[in-house]
Amino acid sequence: MSVPRPGRRPARQDCRLPAQPGELLDRARPLSFTWDGRRYDGYCGDTIASALAASGVRIFSRSFKYHRPRGILTASALDPGCTVQVGDEPNVRAAGRQVSEGMDVRPQNVWPSLAHDVGSANRLVGRFLTAGFYYKTFIKPQRLWPTYERVLGTFAPGGRVSGTSKPGYYDQRYAHPDVVVAGSGPAGLGAALSAAETGAQVLLVEEEYDLGGSLRWGGAAELAQLLALRAAVDAAPTIEMLRNSVVAGRYDDNWISILQRGLPHVEERLIKARAKVLVVAPGLIERPYVFAGNDLPGVMLGTAVRRLINLYAVRPGTRAVVLSANPEGDAAVADLQRAGVEIAAVLDARRGEDLRRAVGGTGVKAAELADGRRIDCDLVVTSIGWTAATSLLNMAGDRPWYDASAARFRPSDDLPPGVLATGGLVGDGSTDELLAHGRAVGAAAAARAGFGQAEVPGPLAVRMHPALFRASTHGIIDYSEDVSSKDILAAAAEGYDSSELVKRYTTATMGPSQGKLETVNTVAVLAEATGKRIDELGTTVWRPPYAPISLGALAGRIHEPVRHSPMQSWHEAYGAVPLVAGAWIRPDHYGDPQAEARNVREGVGIIDVTPLGKLDLRGPDVSKLLNLVYVNRWSKLEVGSVRYGVMCAEDGVVMDDGVTGRLDAQRYLMSTTSSGAAAVWEHLEGWLQTEHPDWQVHINPLTTYYASINVAGPRSRELLARVTEGVDLSPEAFPYMRVRTGRIAGVDECLMWRIGFTGELSYELHVPASYGLHVWNALLERGADLAAAAFGVEAQRILRLEKGHLIVAQDTDGLTKAYEAGLGSLVKLDKDDFVGRPELVWQQELGEARRLVSLQPVDGSVVPPEASQIVRENTILGRITSSRRSPTLGRSICLGIVDVSVAEPGSMLTVLLPDGRRIQAAVQPQLAHVDPEGGRLRV
């Protein structure tokens, strides 16, 4: 790409007309920008395309397959030939985007440049690039396809995204309007105004920069009417007006997505509106005509020249041939004449006059007429019919029908509730008729939203319109996909003869304009090919979004919840390496997990276990609930005691585990795994609410009411004694598996559980969270001489593995039942019922197929990575679920789940390491590698 040369004199705006009555330009504010590295001038209010066209630019891009030159066709956001790169933004619609000072605009799909374009060699072979070309070739040999593919890939259309752009500020908001009006032509304006008059809240959304639709290029009368309507909208207190914004989708229950652009501080904003009623009024899209050369620069639609002349004061050519089938086409002729364009010929399609082809290389040079005449010209204008933009109705479930007399699809008579249509979508009429229909629909919309009374009016009368789709010659049907009418015929002949199949086979309608210009012509040519009628074939389903939406807007501000414990500031200050555990950010370690673990075995350590799930259970029936959801028994748990429990789902699969303590007769505190906290709460509520609504139990979450600190190690009692008041910590008074309440570091109502996930004498403190940091600091200060130190999750994992404690979802998987997990001794099948009981009964009868065991590699210096497979030759017998180096034993230790046939203590297993080595490991007599008798935690 050439670099901008701002110094160089800009191109003169030779095609710029004197001021037009309805022009959108602010001539007081000229600006300049670069196109393909060269400087151009324009005015504030110009689109990129209009500014370039004013300076005589005719070629904006090259087509995707044949690399044919392309120029302005519709002069609207849909214009397929006017897609450009603006800075780091790809695929900008040059005819729909306003140009701004200093904008860096570049062409796409051109290599090396617009002028010299090797790709256009494709045009020579174009005749061979028939429908389904790729399916029929590059077939053999398969190994070469990737090579072909890379070459083809370089011809991919579109602009470039950068790998380094900083994402801008995109956001979203919710809205709850009574009425959303999509489109601000006369009908849309009427609907918005009359709905607002009832007091309804109205969101009026216009895709373009200005309200008014076709009124904007009407005569003096229309312009005057438009001014009045704009004033009325501005004055209406309950209308929120969004310009340069688009209703992108309509989803279930009138959930409506609106893309809002042009905000000062936001790149783009996605508005999610729950509308009581959606009024669809996008108007009509002018349909291109299919004939030879219909994609040459200089071939334009009637509405395109009217936009260029009236809105942007651009003279679209010097000598024109016009094919008109409707009054709008005739009006285009008048506009052209007014703009000083010589009218070489006007063909009236209503009288059977027709075009045959547009002739030229890089632009129109002449037009060949059906009667054989050849007329030199640089502009060919067609106004041969309309397509109703029914996408939003389609998304609402409506199936439009083909009205042959109007030669266009129209909405069905019974639209889904909450959706109404007006304007060109439902019929034709004068500005006043459209306005009146819009007003009636707006009143009906308000009524449906609960404001006033009004019936939905019938559709507008529909003007007869000749059915013109294709001339006697073949031309392009899908400009962005380079699909010709010949391709459609070929596809149909090959059996791809339904609108869905022909779309998929030729890719017609699958490009950036999503069929708005192409669908009806595609169906019409398919009808021609199959001898069917258009209404028999129907169109393909329009899918959201109506207009492309940036990923940034869809993502909005990214609010991924993050959870921190009250001690987070300390962890950060002391160099904790963070562990992302779902929403929780936890300290994985503080530098040396092995040392942290050793310190727990030898002295005392403290760990932040705040994420542990904690549920307050109270009421007379709590023990019933516990007996139901845990596999073990709870009836006899005394006040002041805690017990380890295992939960299974109805299929017997282990779902969670934890310790539950009885604080008084009717009050328990249940702890769950950190990741399982929410699921367990929901699980308990479910059983209570749906199966046992009669049980008297309240479940209240306390997970973050408490800061939870585990104080572990032989000297934990000594440390705790220094900060605790009101609790006798002696082994006799406070033995293993008991819970006490007392004052810690001056904080009342602290819970202390004597339990030991680490296998050491340890106390789990649950401290009112606001005091968490205070207690944490107190423990470290008062324990300084005991070398009390914090340890992280990694050290805890090492310690629990030395103890052979399993971690649900690591040492178990989605199918591991209680017996396989080595938890069989806990399962009390003599309980009448508990969740998952039947499956466990059967597993116990049949015996389990796999079992969780402890393993020690013969070579203790090797730590088999977790998930290493346990094999016999190449048959899988199990896998390592947890493995670490044990600082206590000075060797590697593992948990693994293995086939029962090899689960006996002493059996020697082969572990296949990821690097391919095979090592031997012995099954241990019990799960615990360290202190199997549990002496250390009972001291």
Binding site: T130, I139, P157, P548, I558
Partner: protein, 421 residues
């Protein structure tokens, strides 16, 4: 035996000749009247039904087969999936089966004389926490034991494969590693459907579009044929290949299945110049993405969180998708989403298919594919054809029988069911 069609071979030469003569290609498949009886009726003209029909005719000399579809060829999940092919599953049964499918895909273009554009560009499944990294290693180890090329790689290697990826440890979901599966890639799904249809047709199989099965004739515990909107047809064997609609079709035979139907949504962006060569999947972020030869990014996610037969698609899907894609590749925020759509997935409790015989004699199942159906097409068709022709269930699908649910023999894919596309 029905007439075979001498179908014109596809080749560059053929294109050249027709380019010069402007001659037309013959129809890829023909229209037929519905015959009163066939040897086999297959319900569903997606890749499973068409592949089954093709292998029946081509491998087992059973061409008297009717493939019935209520709509058109490849109109269901086979034409709506994101066309990702891989075999890096978790269980040996799964790996073996999908590896067979990959092997068949590798030679499919030549076998069908139809370029299916199988692009083995490599497949990355990202791990954002130690748990999923463990699962990736688990899959890699099982894959290697089954002779499938998979390995766990680190952030640097990931960055080398996907330069636009944010592999910084500060990311909200830091990338700790990935399962890299070089043989994985993408394919042109329509081409696979059409290629099977065209070649099956050439072997005498009849494809009936717009033919909806409205009833299944079961008498004395065995199937005798089906009722359709075009009249009754009899056959001793009826195969259910209807994916999202599997429960409804089986219901016609009085059979209830452990299946619930969930929409699976997908979307494409506008085309941009090629910047993403491999397939990228993140289970934690529930997103997968690849770039087509046309330059579009194709996105998918996990199935909708509730059962539904709606294919309208949802806004929240695109919002979550975009957020997660930008979490991986923050610089592409200006890329625009062009179109979204949905297909229906027949989800089973163990994320594994249900294939083979049922309590209704002659009524066979090839369903329960969930989000994995397209990857399985060729191997499933091959196995179902063998089952029909020999009456014996091939070992490769033995683990996927319907009876496993009543007998509590679920398949372990559930252990690692991330959004593994």
């Amino acid at each position: 035996m029905p007439a075979r069609q001498a179908s014109a071979r596809y080749s560059a030469f053929g294109l050249l000749r027709r380019g010069l003569t402007r001659g037309e290609w013959p129809a890829a498949w023909r229209h037929h009247d519905l015959a009163p009886a066939y040897d086999v009726i297959i319900i569903g003209a997606g890749v499973h039904g068409l592949a089954t029909a093709y292998y029946l005719a081509e491998r087992h000399g059973i061409p008297n087969v009717a493939v019935l579809d209520k709509a058109y060829v490849g109109g269901g999940g086979s034409g709506r999936n994101t066309a990702i092919i891989r075999s890096n599953y978790l269980t040996p049964d799964g790996v073996r089966f999908y590896d067979r499918s990959v092997k068949l895909y590798e030679s499919l273009a030549a076998e069908l004389n139809f370029n299916v554009m199988f692009s083995q560009r490599g497949h990355l499944t990202l791990a954002h926490n130690d748990g999923s990294l463990r699962t990736m290693r688990w899959r890699a180890e099982v894959n290697k034991l089954e002779g499938v090329d998979s390995e766990v790689i680190g952030p640097e290697d990931i960055k080398a494969l996907v330069p636009y990826m944010d592999v910084s440890p500060e990311a909200r979901y830091p990338i700790m590693g990935a399962l890299y599966h070089p043989p994985g890639g993408t394919i042109r799904h329509d081409a696979v459907n059409w290629g099977y249809a065209r070649t099956a047709d050439a072997h005498g199989v009849q494809i009936h579009q717009n033919t909806e099965v409205t009833g299944i004739d079961v008498d004395g515990g065995r199937v005798h044929g089906v009722q359709t909107n075009r009249g009754p047809v009899s056959a001793p064997v009826v195969v259910n290949c209807t994916a999202g609609w599997a429960s409804l079709v089986s219901g016609l035979a009085g059979l209830r299945l452990p299946i619930s139907t969930h929409p699976l949504q997908a979307a494409v962006t506008e085309p941009v110049k090629m910047f993403l060569r491999t397939v990228v999947v993140s289970g934690t972020l529930h997103v997968y993405v690849s770039q087509t030869d046309r330059g579009e990014l194709v996105f998918g996610a996990s199935t909708d969180p509730y059962p539904s037969y709606s294919m309208r698609g949802s806004l929240e899907f695109t919002e979550e998708l975009a957020g997660h894609v930008l979490a991986l590749m923050p610089s592409i925020a200006k890329l625009r989403l062009l179109r979204q759509w949905a297909g229906l997935c027949d989800m089973t409790p163990d994320f594994s298919p249900i294939m083979g015989i049922t309590p209704v004699e002659g009524f066979l199942l090839d369903v329960g594919w969930g989000t994995y159906g397209f990857k399985a097409g060729p191997a499933a068709g091959e196995a179902m054809a063998e089952l029909i022709a020999t009456g014996k269930t091939p070992d490769i699908i033995a683990a996927f029988d319907l009876a496993r649910f009543a007998e509590g023999r679920l398949v372990g894919e559930k252990g690692a069911a991330a959004v593994g596309h």
